[in-house]
Symmetry: C2
Subunit: 293 residues, 2 copies
């Protein structure tokens, strides 16, 4: 019973799928299937009920899952401790981020990080917000970058940035010439919105409601990139973080109009409570926090 098989089993349970677990661990579905069977043979007990889809976890399987988690966390803890002794900053920092933190920002952070710590690797996954929390909870990432962060019993939050939200629209749009946008000017506009279940959507909705504005939701997206495309094509207006539009503003494909009643979006960093971070992850966290807005 190797650590690979522990990690594999954990991932199989978390993804509720042998194949996905196999993929996450870089082995074939066949190998994963054999690994689980070997496990069940050794322990003489069924761990997973694979006669149903998606597969279900038996009582014993849950025990083994907790066991895997504990073992793998202890392993991470050891590795963190070890790096404290050797003084080396190495290993992979896994970061899960929402799409809208700005890929270019992270890219420059990544460059600085690999410059400072050449032995460390940085791996960033861009996910939907709920997936970011999930990734941190399920040990697939040391750090998570989210907007409107919320802590839980197992997760702790560090404030990171406050981003100014602005009216975003095509330069050719009627409202593009305004120096400042009052709420009433949005009344009845076609609106390019975030998906209903994203936190940012809730906050923008509340902002509009509080200022007595009704807009017409023209389209919905779960990522800023697509929204910017739609706006550039004149499909409507939106409210987006200004930082995310700097490129398009410079290129002249989009315009940003400051809001008279300001609205900002807080970004935060989530991590697991009482989990010593590997040295490399600690350093990346420092880098994040020292980076100017």
């Amino acid at each position: 019973m190797t650590f690979e098989s522990l990690s594999l089993y954990r991932d199989i349970v978390q993804t509720r799928s042998v194949s996905r677990g196999a993929a996450l661990n870089g082995i074939s579905q066949s190998a994963a299937s054999q690994s689980v069977q070997e496990l069940e043979r050794c322990l003489q007990v069924r761990l997973l009920d694979r006669s149903t889809r998606p597969l279900t976890v038996t009582e014993a399987g849950k025990l083994y899952y907790d066991y895997c988690r504990d073992i793998l966390r202890r392993k991470e803890q050891f590795e963190a401790q070890l790096q404290g002794v050797t003084g080396r900053v190495a290993g992979t920092v896994r970061v899960a981020a929402i799409y809208s933190v700005g890929i270019s920002d992270i890219a420059s952070l990544e460059a600085e990080f690999t410059r400072r710590y050449p032995d460390a690797d940085l791996h960033v996954d861009y996910l939907r917000p709920e997936r970011v929390y999930e990734a941190v909870l399920e040990d697939r990432a040391e750090l998570g970058l989210v907007s409107y962060p919320e802590g839980t019993r197992e997760l702790t939050v560090l404030p990171w940035r406050e981003e100014e939200m602005v009216l975003a629209l095509s330069p050719s749009h009627a409202l593009a010439g305004l120096r400042r946008a009052g709420a009433h000017e949005l009344e009845g506009q076609d609106f390019v919105a975030f998906d209903d279940d994203l936190p940012i959507r809730q906050h923008v909705d509340r902002y509009l409601r509080e200022h007595g504005v009704n807009v017409r939701i023209a389209m919905r997206f779960d990522n800023i990139g697509s929204m910017k495309e739609a706006l550039a094509l004149g499909q409507g207006v939106s409210i987006l973080p200004r930082r995310m539009m700097l490129n398009e503003i410079a290129l002249g494909t989009l315009s940003a109009v400051p809001l008279r009643k300001p609205l900002s979006r807080p970004l935060g960093i989530v991590r697991r409570k009482q989990q010593a971070l590997p040295r490399a992850a600690e350093r990346f966290l420092e880098l994040l926090l020292e980076t100017p807005l």
Copy 2:
């Protein structure tokens, strides 16, 4: 990195020797040496300083040792939990006992145990008292049987038996005819004693001192078997648990004279605190506690 290698490393550190660790894990010295080197190569850090004898453990090596212990304990805990779910009583119960608990007693217990739980194995090691504590502390035994038990921060004690101590001597000895032995009758006798560092020796010494008796220590042993031989040959007298002499009394090779001022020896069971016992070990513990004196 397999569990075998964790167990191996733990044993190497505990025994301060690669060869002994290898022997404990049933592999060759060569394999053990290679395993440690592989470990150091993977972690990129020296764990053991083998340029000195006995070998010494580096800072990183200590961290890894703690890690091994934690992992292996978690594994045991899982196995115990699993047996709770399956209801099976299987696996090996490892018991460490002092020589003087009585091998024949344990043998009959063992017979009863394997009768009740045919899937479980019982393994008993007979050791010197300090080794019994060590074996339990270092996860080489689930239960320890000792006299004059003492708990520690990591060990908890369950009282087991109170054994009557009697004057033990050859039937041909001058004192053998007594119905009861007062303390004064021991004055000046040749005494067959336990080794100085055994707890039972301290207690017998105190008994003699408190009753103002001086004896001449004729010989010392660390096990009751040898003492009985010496007594049968008329080499002196001793104070021993009666239970341990039943066979010799029946055969007429030894006599037991009750002490006027009674002395008893408490036997106890030691186990690690906050460590769920495997189901098989739990059952053996039940068996121990229900066994009549």
